[in-house]
Every structure is written in C-alpha cells, then in structure tokens.
C-alpha cells in the first residue's frame, strides 16, 4: 500500500514536470512575441521594449527562462507582466469569485443526476426513461452560450431580474435580504449552466452503471427469492453500482480551477476562467502558465485521490 502510494506520487511528479516543460514550450515557441502585443502604442519605444525584455528575462536562453519561471512560481514570486501583481494572489482572488459557482454547480450536478439516472434505469424503456434520455442528449448537445442566451432572454424579459455580473451595480445599502437575494439571482443562472452538461453526462453514466448491475446474476437471484423490488434495487443493485462514483469524487477537483471561460465571459463573472481568457488575449505568459500548471497539478491530485478511494472502497483490489 505504502509503496503503491510512493510510486504513484513519484510518477505524478514526473508527469507534472513534463507538463510544465511542454506548456512552457508551447507558449514560448508559438509565433509572436509578448513584446509585440501593442505595437501601435507610441509609448512603446524600442528602449522600453529592451527594458521590458530585461525585466522579465526574455533576453535569456529558453532553458534559463524556464528555470527562472518555475523557481519564481514555486517560491510564490511570479508577477503578471500586465500589471506587476503577484500571480498567485491574483489567482486566489479570482478563485474565491469562482468558488461559489463551482460549489453550487457541483451540488446541483451530484444531487440531481443520481435520482434521474437510477429512476430511468429501473424503469428502463418506459416513457420516463426515454424522455430523460432525450433531454440529457439535448443538454449535452446544446452549445453552452446559446443556452445561456435563451435563459438570459427569458429571465430578463419575463422575471425582470438582472443577472449579469456578480451583483447589481449601485444597489447601495439596501436591506440585507435584498442583497442576499440579488447575489443568489446572479449566482443561479451561471451555476445552472455550468451544471447542465454535468447533470446530463453523469445521469447517463449512473443509468448505464445501474443497468449493468441490474443484469448481474446476484440481482436476479435476489429477485427470484422474492425480495421486494425496493430492496433489490436499492440494497443489492445500487450499492454495487455506486462503486465507480466514489472514485469520481477525486475527479471533481480539477473543476476547481477551470472555471468556464465561455460562461464567465457571458455573465461578466470575474472568475478564473475569465482571468485566463484575458491573460491569453494580453499574452500574459506567467498567468497562463501558472493557471496551466495549477490545473495540471489538480488533475493529478484528483486521479491520485480517486486511486486511493478505489483502494479503500473496493475490497477486490489488494496490493
């Protein structure tokens, strides 16, 4: 067990190292230079460009830049090229903005998809199952921004509630309940949008797992010996079908830092995704690389957690 964990961690660190190298190379070998972002700006004289290059080590060879960048990152000293703010602080600030979206979205996904999936598996082929199937494909297939605009148009014209941004601007010192309601309204649409894809996919997956288990011999045995259907479904089948989902808890982790670029830009939500998008537009390499590095680290941490969970949950796996 310990040796498994140790080997796993070493492997993950090596992977992370290669990810850092590759993302660094992708960014720095792509055509165009960060110094050319704003060539029309008259204040951007050649001397200034030189100074800029020197300041951010752009005149050094690539491997030195790599070492300097990751040394700065690991000691927490990286600064954004755009505004000289420490990158980690910036990300932390945006992360706190994205966090409510992530929490509400995840809660919606996990609480809604299980009942839907289990129900449609139990009544396979029925009208409920067929309509749930169709709707989940509909939700998977709809372009997120199109759906967002439909929802916005509906909410704004019918319910007359402002939904863009994190809160209504200039609300002032209203009663606290109003403020809370305002926040909730602004939170609702983006989190629903963030959750739709997840609900659709996860409920399909739950249904598939459940169906697979319902076809097993021990479920047939349970049914044959005359157990009530509830007991067969929820005690014999569901417990075994749940196994893969325990491990999926680990896979939620990467969502923490992703934040949806598209949804956050539609709703002018000052979260991680939008910051990353702005960084891409401004060629703010430190921010792009840090976001990339952190999300890769979270993906690896997530798979690690799910491996461990699998070990704990499934008694058939012994190392």
């Amino acid at each position: 067990m310990l040796s498994f964990i140790g080997r796993n961690i070493i492997q993950k660190i090596v992977t992370l190292f290669f990810v850092s190298v590759i993302s660094f190379l992708i960014i720095h070998l792509a055509p165009g230079k960060p110094t050319q972002v704003d060539p029309m700006n008259p204040r951007f004289t050649p001397e200034l460009v030189e100074k800029f290059k020197k300041e951010f080590h752009l005149d050094k060879p690539l491997y030195k830049q790599y070492l300097i960048f990751y040394k700065d990152l690991l000691t927490g000293e990286t600064v954004s090229w755009k505004d000289n703010q420490p990158v980690l602080e910036k990300i932390w600030e945006r992360f706190l903005n994205s966090l409510p979206l992530f929490i509400v979205g995840t809660l919606l996904t996990w609480t809604l998809s299980f009942p839907v999936g289990i129900h449609s598996a139990i009544y396979r082929g029925g009208i409920y199952d067929r309509s749930a199937t169709f709707f989940s494909y509909l939700l998977i297939s709809i372009p997120g921004f199109f759906f967002a605009y439909i929802l916005i148009a509906f909410v704004v014209t019918r319910l007359h509630v402002p939904v863009i941004g994190m809160e209504t601007f200039g609300l002032g010192n209203r009663f606290w309940l109003n403020m809370v309601m305002d926040r909730l309204w602004h939170l609702l649409l983006p989190s629903i949008l963030g959750a739709t894809g997840g609900i659709a996919i996860l409920s399909r997956y739950v249904r598939g797992q459940m169906l697979e288990v319902e076809g097993e011999d021990y479920v047939r045995t349970a049914r044959a010996k005359g157990l009530p259907p509830e007991q067969v479904h929820y005690k014999h089948a569901l417990r075994n079908a749940l196994l893969p989902f325990v491990t999926m808890f680990g896979l939620i982790l990467p969502g923490l830092i992703g934040g949806s670029v598209i949804i956050e830009s539609i709703f002018s939500w000052p979260g991680m995704g939008r910051m990353a998008y702005e960084a891409i537009l401004a060629r703010d390499y430190p921010v792009i690389l840090t976001v990339n590095f952190l999300s890769a680290a979270l993906v690896l941490a997530g798979t690690f957690v799910s491996d461990i969970l699998y070990l704990i949950v499934d008694p058939r796996i012994r190392l």
Partner: protein, 384 residues
C-alpha cells in the same frame, strides 16, 4: 466424415449473424434512427450548400451586402425599389431573414453547414489517426523496451532540430552533428563488441529504460493533464487565425481516448490464435496490425469518433463565440451565432436559427453514436 453428417440435428443456436442482430437492435432504437436520418440530411444540405454558395457567381451569395435590407425577419420579401436585380436573392424571398449587414442568412447558413462539417470531420479524422497509431504501437509493440542510448540520441537530435528551427543555427547544427556521431558510434560499437564483452559504461547505456507501452501511456497521461478547452484556446490564440489551425489543434488535443481504446483491445487481441497464425505465416507486422487486428478493434473507435464530431463542432462554435474561430470570409454557424447575439432582442432569428441548427446536428451525432454504443455493448442487452 459421413458419420458426422448422419447425426440427427443437434440443437443449434439460432443462426443470426452479428450484423443482422445489430441491425435489428438498431431498428428498435428510434432515437438513434432519428439521429442517423438527421445526419444524412445534414450531410446532403452541407454538400449542396457548398455547390450553391461557392464559385464566382453563386446561386445563394453569402457575402452580398445590402445595407438597406438589414435585419429583415425570416420569409420577408426584398424591397425591389432599392435593390439592383443582381442583388435580389433567388426566389425573391429571404428564407431566414438578413443579418446586420443585410446578408442573406439562408445563404450564410448553407455555407456554414459545410464549414462545420469539415471542421468536425477533419478534426476527428486527425485525432482518430493519431489515436490508432499510438494505441496500435502501444498495444502491439508495448512489451519492447527502449534503451537509454536511444533516448539520449533522440533527445539530442530533437533539441538540435528545435534549436535550428528557432534560429539558433550554431548550437543547433552542433547538436545535430553530435547526435549523428553518437548514432554512428553506437552502430559501429555494436558490430565491434558482438563477440567481446562490452565495457561497463556502455552496458549501462544499453540497459532497458522504459517499455514502449509505458512511454506512450505516460504521454497520454501528460496530455490528459492539460485543461482541454483552455489549451485549445491558448494555442489557437497564439497561432494565426485559420480554419486549418483550428482543425489541427482540436484533432491533436483529443486523440487520447482513442489511444486507450485501441491499446486495450490490442493487448487482448495480440494473444489470440489468429494473430499467432498470421505471424507464423510470416505476415509483416504492419499487415497484422492493419489487416488482422484493426478490424477487430475499430468499433469502439468509430463510436467515439461519432461523438467526437459532435464535440468538435461544439468546440468550434465555442471558439467562434470567443472570437477565435474560423476567420470572417467563411461563415460558420458559430460565428453567425456570436454576431447575432448582439441583436438578440431586435432580431432573435440571428441567434435562434444558427443555435437550433448547431443543436440539431450535434444532437443527431450524439444520438447516433450513443445508439451504436448501446447496440454493440452486450452487457446492456435485454436478458429476460
């Protein structure tokens, strides 16, 4: 021989081939039939759209600007007073209205259908080819090992090439020369030391470092670490805007699933008797992989490719929405939609027509793909 024939009919399983059985199941799955039909219709629309909107004098001109006629609702008639005869759309009607520059939305949608189709298919084609190649190598040659000296030489040659490409001529050429020298050195030494014992340091270099399977699967792990859409967005934003870059980037960031499928299938297939028989007959590795093993492993790949096309179309639309999509002369459904969103209250058809079109096509691909998956998964068939 005769004796066997004379045995009275033994109870045989009903003779149904896999294909007919699958067809029967497919017919029962109404949603996936619907998806399949929609896909066929979409394909024909895209092809006719290509013919009707391209060329010097297209029937439906997607680029014709009529500033007097902007934001006309669907099924409205053009105003003949302000237009020249060449500017009047065919049949004298705007089937889907006009956009903010007075361009015929119907013509633009026709043109966009072909672009969306090619983006989807080329991107998935690239990802399937890369995926099959990597998965095939990992599954078939997986047990072979790569030696330290091979890794070192490859690294030297690659970094030499990269330096040369970046413009550092001197160090690049030096590295390339060193790499080739090493290569030469090792080939010669292999011949020299065939009989004698090798010195210790060379023996260390010739140790097995890593198996090919591990190497490829680690590459897959690395690729899976990148946040998908964000990586695509970064690369597209840094590269010059072009439809080919989008296809290539989407393709090169989505091959990992295919690789895993193919590898898993190959690992079990390579132990089977027909592969051993083919190898005993002296069939070449290439032919074994592509003629004998691939047809047995292609089904899950095709299913995931069907769904991959849908994902690629959605990704392209998302990129267009953020302003990094296919650049302007081409109309795609994604960029029609992202232009149209500015007029969502004044001209809702500019948002809803392309949006619904994308939705329908992606939905049809997803339904068809999932239907196939369900049919071909024996565990999900009815058992009682």
């Amino acid at each position: 021989m005769n004796k066997i024939k004379n045995i009275p009919d033994a109870p045989l399983a009903p003779k149904v081939s896999r294909f007919t059985e699958s067809c029967r199941l497919f017919k029962n799955n109404r949603l996936s039939i619907l998806g399949f039909i929609t896909f066929i219709i979409f394909f024909f629309i895209a092809v006719t759209g290509l013919f009707l909107t391209s060329g010097n004098n297209p029937v439906f001109d997607p680029a014709r600007i009529r500033l007097h006629e902007k934001l006309r609702p669907p099924m409205s008639r053009p105003n003949p007073g302000t237009l020249k005869t060449s500017e009047i759309p065919p049949f004298g009607i705007y089937f889907m209205g006009t956009d903010e520059l007075g361009r015929d939305l119907f013509a633009r949608m026709l043109q966009g259908a072909w672009v969306s189709l090619t983006v989807g298919f080329v991107a998935v084609g690239i990802s399937v080819i890369v995926g099959i190649f990597m998965g095939g190598i990992a599954g078939y040659f997986g047990q072979k090992h790569i030696r330290f000296d091979q890794i070192i030489i490859t690294c030297i040659l690659f970094s030499g090439g990269a330096l040369l490409f970046m413009g550092a001529r001197h160090s690049g050429v030096k590295l390339l020369i060193i790499g080739h020298a090493c290569l030469f050195f090792f080939i010669i030494f292999k011949v020299v030391w065939r009989k004698k014992a090798m010195p210790g340091w060379i023996r260390i270099l010739r140790k097995n470092a890593i198996s090919i399977d591990t190497l490829i699967m680690r590459i897959v792990d690395i690729m899976l670490c990148f946040p998908g859409f964000f990586l695509i967005l970064t690369v597209i934003a840094l590269l010059p805007a072009s439809i080919y870059n989008i296809m290539i980037v989407i393709g090169l960031t989505s091959w990992m699933g295919t690789t895993r499928f193919v590898r898993a299938d190959f690992l079990s297939l390579r132990e089977q008797d027909f592969v051993t028989a083919a190898r005993a007959l002296g069939v070449s590795n290439f032919r074994i992989i592509f003629r004998h093993m691939m047809p047995n492993a292609i089904t899950p790949v095709l299913i995931s490719a069907t769904i991959g096309v849908a994902t690629a179309i959605l990704t392209e639309a998302g990129l267009s929405f953020l302003g990094f999509g296919v650049p302007p002369p081409h109309a795609t459904w994604g960029n029609i939609l992202s232009n149209g969103k500015n007029y969502i209250f004044d001209a809702p058809w500019l948002t809803f027509i392309p949006g619904t079109a994308i939705l329908t096509v992606v939905l049809s691909f997803n339904l068809f793909g999932e239907g196939l998956r369900e049919i071909l998964n024996p565990k999900l068939r009815d058992r009682y």
